[in-house]
């Protein structure tokens, strides 16, 4: 009966307009947050290096070939790049100054041996399990990350020799060993492939192994820092690219393209989230204004109910429950439309060759729940204030 008194004789045009506004805001909000998360996840797990992590080096030109310009980084240059706003973290890549060669060490595969170049990076830049990425003298084997190009080359060699090619998984089970040497001595260490990379051209080893090799097999060639491992902050690829161009630095093009695409899409979705939040806010204001208008138009009814012995909480509860239903319709419709839109957007992305995770993101659903919660709480205090004013 109280509900009938308060809601049956209202003009609902303003309510419907506010509901449509909120519905659009909620839908854009959930969709943009979902795809922002998916865009940021894009490319994860495809490489052993961390997200937005790449190797930079100085461009090699004719002058540097003639040793007229340097290709190594001074400590001052490293610090300068570290202090740039786009830099999340940065570390010089350690290279070997000792001689090292890799050879097969199994009767199951044909003999193969090649001089190689090894580098080490800190574990914070890789996605390798920290427990697997460590070495100390006396360990059974040295864990390594092999450039995928190296495996391709190995398979080309195997094909030419008429022997079976090896897959990634098989390569991880094949025995290899390093020969470490300088002019005076030589030693061997068994190695195990723990991963592959498209981003690094050298074989990656743990830093402790590199330090051991450089200390145990010293040569007259001084160790130089020619490459830096750098993680770029999310959405700062534009700045990063400009910096590289201005300073004649270079990085692998494919990781730059993915980073730039993520940066552009991330910016677009962030703008959409901003617009959605404003829409949700404005529609929320209209809904609250409608609730205020409802209370104001029903001032006589509310006052009379109070004078007849109805508790303020009873009337507040009736109003809140009504608006909770309104908000639930908005949130439910938004999630439903988002589900349908997501199905078609995901299909379009797959057709375009972009494979993203198909599940729903918790944060996007949570954003609707939070918006619903804020609407309800604000409306409760609004109703309470309005009703206690009607005596």
């Amino acid at each position: 009966m109280v509900k009938k008194i308060l809601f049956s004789y209202q003009n609902k045009t303003q309510l419907i307009i506010a509901m449509i506004g909120s519905f659009l805001g909620f839908t854009f909000l959930v969709t943009s947050i979902h795809y922002l998360i998916r865009v940021n996840e894009f490319g994860e797990g495809e490489d052993i290096l961390g997200n937005n992590t790449m190797i930079i080096q100085k461009e090699v030109n004719n002058y540097s070939s003639m040793k007229m310009t340097k290709t190594d980084f001074s400590q001052r240059e490293i610090e300068s790049i570290r202090n740039e706003s786009f830099t999340e973290s940065l570390q010089p890549i350690l290279s070997n100054s000792f001689g090292v060669s890799l050879q097969t060490d199994s009767e199951l595969v044909p003999y193969f041996r090649s001089d190689v170049f090894v580098q080490s990076v800190d574990n914070e830049f890789t996605k390798i399990d920290a427990a697997a990425w460590k070495w100390e003298p006396g360990d059974e084997f040295v864990p390594i990350v092999l450039p995928r190009d190296f495996l391709v080359m190995l398979n080309t060699f195997a094909s030419a020799k008429g022997i079976p090619q090896v897959s990634d998984d098989l390569a991880k089970t094949i025995g290899f060993k390093f020969t470490l040497y300088n002019d005076e001595k030589k030693d061997w260490e068994k190695v195990k492939i723990v991963g592959f990379t498209n981003e690094v051209s050298a074989i990656l080893v743990p830093a402790s192994f590199m330090e051991y090799g450089n200390a145990t097999f010293p040569t007259s060639v001084p160790a130089k820092t020619t490459q830096l491992m750098l993680t770029v902050k999310e959405g700062r690829f534009g700045e990063f690219e400009n910096y590289l161009e201005k300073r004649s630095l270079e990085s692998k093009e494919n990781s730059m393209i993915v980073g730039k695409l993520k940066s552009v899409a991330g910016t677009l979705f962030s703008i959409l989230i901003g617009i959605s939040v404003i829409t949700v806010f404005l529609a929320g204001l209209v809904l609250i204004q409608y609730a205020q208008l409802l209370i104001s138009r029903n001032e006589y009814e509310i006052r009379t109910l109070l004078r007849q012995g109805y508790a303020p909480n009873h009337i507040i509860r009736t109003i809140i429950l009504y608006f909770i239903k309104v908000f639930a319709i908005i949130a439910g419709a938004s999630l439903l439309v988002f589900g349908v839109a997501k199905f078609f957007i995901d299909e379009l992305l797959v057709q375009g060759g972009i494979h993203i995770a198909s599940g729903y993101t918790l944060l996007s659903i949570l954003s609707v729940v939070i918006a619903f919660g804020i609407y309800t709480v604000v409306n409760y205090f609004n109703a309470k204030k309005g009703i206690l004013k009607s005596r």
């Binding site: 009966m1 109070l306 004078r307 012995g309 508790a311 303020p312 206690l388 005596r391």
Partner: protein, 213 residues
Amino acid sequence: MNIHFDKVIPIPLSGISHSAQSIWGSSFSLNKGEKVMLNASSGKGKTTFTHTLAGIRNDFNGKIRFDEKEITSFSPTAWADLRKNKISFVFQDLQLFPQLTVEENLQLKNQLTDTFSAKTLKEMLKALEIEDKWKVPCGILSMGQQQRVAIIRALSQPFDWLIMDEPFSHLDEENTQRSLQLIDERANQLNAGFVLTTLGEDHSFNFNRTLNL
């Protein structure tokens, strides 16, 4: 529940002089079960008296207590409980819901305490000769019919006191007597008292007390 007045003067009436018999500025008590006529000419504060006891107005000097509690200390929830169980009102402007039927208006009050069955409510309407208005919206009833609905509504709850502000102003003498009889029976049933504000007419009822404003 007894009602105690301690030198109460509504602030809007503090500027005018009141007779020695006026309750304004006096100290007195209304004891449960008393049937009181509050007699005053227009503009002396009958509605102010009703609204003050209903907790609608707080603009008065002095103290009013329900038993030992000052009424200015009651929270909105405490007032709701009092209006539901202890003190009932027939306001001068009746305060019915014009868009609701007689049945809905009565049940809106009655369902708070589940005091009467629909049958009893209809019998009370019959006693006041408006039983045919059960399904009629109150907004289209005459003022006299609306007054009778408001009286029955006020009786549809437990109470210690029934405060009525000129409830018979649009009723003929016959309907006034019927209404007064219904009110008296219900008050006796609950061992409750009532205050009837009038312009001087006692409707031949044997009041316990007469107060003046």
